[in-house]
């Protein structure tokens, strides 16, 4: 064969593989509103930057007539490319090839690109669209999943791992996304569950649709498994690219700095907070009033909305914001919000992102449901995550900082580096009403007009104790500041923390209350 013929032969071979499961299967895929695996990768990486590996990998199974079947690329596309000029590793399961089912070689391709990403210290983006284990390959398929989970765990905290659910992801397969840092879902396309509707019906007699069991909205709002929800695949790809601008490429690096931009003028920091501590407001407006260009990328915005988490920039540098949300459930901590905040704090800590905490919370959510769900061990995650974090930790107390909540929300006592309080801050062991009722119980009971005395005592307690000055007089708060000064002081805090060094006791790893 001449070189030319060799080249033509190669091109022909590639062309066949690039057809995936063939025209008919691609038509079916498109009819479901889904792009093909390669189109999806192109939607994320810089144009022309993607290089595919292992195109000619084929399965080696012989049982159940599998030796007669050709599965192009064994149902998964792997490779590397760039996003905004920085390298990323990608894999995308190809549903058009045997339903994207995971066999041994399919899994080997995924673990190959994962190993590559870990070695090259670059983020990995995994696009999931698979019917599950390839049953014909039996235990080999299970081995494949296990090898992926192991690498997810080894990569955790070393490189950012993004999972994109663009189709079914069922049974054991769900544990790879669950082990990664960010899970993206798309309305009507993503389906995630351990056991499908059929099994749920047979075993439990519960009739539920796939969408109600494990659709995108369920994971975005109820289970908390998803971090980003989009209406279309295209919107999802934009979210992925935007997220990548906020996070570093690996745990040895800092997130890329951008030119500083002032917040937008419509967010006036003096006009957001109601003075009455029982009145709600949207704490996201305060974040937008301090963040560069008022650009705040919220994470898990439909889940446990009583706490707000996400990325923004202060003077060009990425920070992770954690803020109690008085607009929802009065901003209390509960099982879900503690899980949400705890995980985010640990991500920021692992990837050198300073944490800015805005505090305004009355305490923990009361109730049998919460206690039985384990609000004690869940709540402990927040204490653990803040205490363990060694990145710069800055707290701004906006209003209420009562009791256990005061301690948990990155207090000085958990080694916050900077403690600021607005003059509206109420830092106390509990709210004035509750405290007055306990401390002056006898006086109130024995007075001629108990209700009047109670009101008087509440006012007295508020004036004496529910302010930032008691805590400031003990050095628990570094500075009581005007709201307008917040952004400038956040910038200052991050600047002076650039060489922060913390020595922690030698250990293999801690044992967080998972």
């Amino acid at each position: 064969m001449s070189l030319k013929r060799n080249i033509l032969d190669l091109r022909k071979r590639k062309e066949i593989v690039l057809q995936g499961g063939g025209e008919e299967a691609i038509k079916k895929q498109n009819a479901m509103g889904k792009l093909t695996a390669r189109e999806r990768i192109q939607g994320i990486v810089d144009a022309g930057s993607f290089h595919e590996y292992d195109m000619f990998v084929e399965h080696q199974s012989k049982d159940f007539d599998m030796d007669k079947k050709v599965l192009h690329g064994d149902g998964v596309v792997i490779g590397t490319g760039t996003v905004y000029g920085e390298p990323v590793a990608v894999y995308a399961q190809d549903f058009t090839v045997a339903g994207g089912s995971l066999g041994l070689m399919h899994a080997r391709k995924i673990t190959k690109i994962m190993d590559h990403a870990i070695k090259m210290r670059m983020p990995i983006i995994g696009i999931n669209d698979s019917g599950g284990a390839r049953i014909q390959e039996g235990v080999d398929s299970l081995a494949g999943y296990g090898e992926i989970f192991f690498r997810n765990t080894m990569a955790s905290g070393v490189i950012p791992q993004l999972s994109v659910i663009l189709g079914p992801c069922a049974g054991g397969a769900v544990y790879s996304p669950a082990l990664t840092d960010f899970v993206f879902v798309v309305d009507n396309i993503s389906k995630m569950f351990i056991t499908g509707p059929e099994v749920v019906k047979t075993v439990l007699g519960e009739v539920v649709s796939m969408e109600d069991l494990g659709g995108a909205r369920v994971h975005a709002a109820i289970s908390g498994n998803a971090h980003f929800f989009a209406l279309t695949e295209q919107e999802c790809f934009e979210q992925i690219k935007k997220l990548l601008t906020f996070i570093p490429w690996n745990n040895q690096r800092k997130a890329k700095a951008f030119p500083a931009k002032p917040p937008k003028p419509e967010y006036k920091i003096n006009n957001i907070l109601p003075a009455d501590p029982t009145q709600p407001y949207d704490v996201r407006e305060i974040i937008m009033a301090v963040a560069d260009d008022s650009d705040f990328m919220e994470i898990q915005q439909d889940f446990a909305q009583n706490i707000v988490i996400g990325f923004g920039r202060i003077d060009g540098e990425t920070v992770g914001f954690v803020a109690n949300q008085p607009l929802v459930l009065a901003g209390v901590l509960d099982c879900d919000s503690a899980d949400k905040a705890g995980r985010f704090i640990r991500f920021c800590d692992a990837f050198n992102i300073p944490i800015v905490t805005f505090e305004d919370m009355p305490g923990y959510l009361p109730g049998v449901e919460q206690e039985h769900m384990g609000v004690i061990r869940h709540g402990a995650k927040v204490l653990y995550a803040y205490s363990e974090a060694t990145v710069p930790k800055i707290t701004v107390i906006l209003r209420k900082a009562y009791g256990g909540g005061y301690i948990a929300m990155n207090s000085r006592h958990l080694k916050a580096d900077f403690m600021f309080a607005w003059p509206t801050a109420e830092i106390a062991v509990m709210g004035p009403e509750g405290a007055a009722n306990i401390i002056f119980k006898k006086e109130i009971k024995e007075s001629a007009n108990p209700e009047e005395t109670r009101k008087q005592k509440v006012i007295e307690y508020r004036e004496k104790f529910a302010n930032p000055y008691v805590a400031a007089s003990k050095g628990y708060i570094d500075s009581v500041i005007e709201p307008e000064e917040t952004r400038m002081l956040l910038k200052h805090s991050i600047e002076v923390s650039s060489n922060k060094t913390v020595i922690v006791p030698q250990k293999k790893h801690g044992i967080p209350p998972f």
Partner: protein
């Protein structure tokens, strides 16, 4: 935001204006369990019933067998009692939390 209808949530004696999540609204409210009511802890099929109404039973006596997840679950009396009423019969397919037997002390 001005159109939002606010709910009230009381924490440590203070009433806060706020909104609720659907998850909070739909939470299962706590009820004190009535130990006299023997309910299915799992959906399944009643294989056989070992007792009759009016019968006295001792603690740990087998009341009935509930087949679920391919297992024969022996449902026993939690304490010594009299069978007040039996709500199921052999062969019945029942859902979770179905009342099967009522006891009286």
């Amino acid at each position: 935001m001005s159109n939002t209808k606010y709910e009230k949530l009381q924490i440590d004696g203070v009433e806060y204006k706020t909104t609720f999540t659907s998850k909070w609204i739909n939470r299962k409210k706590w009820e004190e369990p009535n130990l006299n009511l023997i309910e299915s802890h799992i959906p399944g099929t009643i294989l056989n019933i070992n007792v009759k109404e009016g019968q006295e039973v001792e603690a740990d006596d087998v009341l009935l067998t509930l087949q679920a997840m391919k297992m024969n679950n022996k449902i026993t009396a939690p304490f010594s009692a009299k069978i007040k009423k039996i709500y199921v019969k052999a062969g019945d397919q029942i859902a979770k939390d179905t009342l099967m037997i009522e006891l009286e002390e």
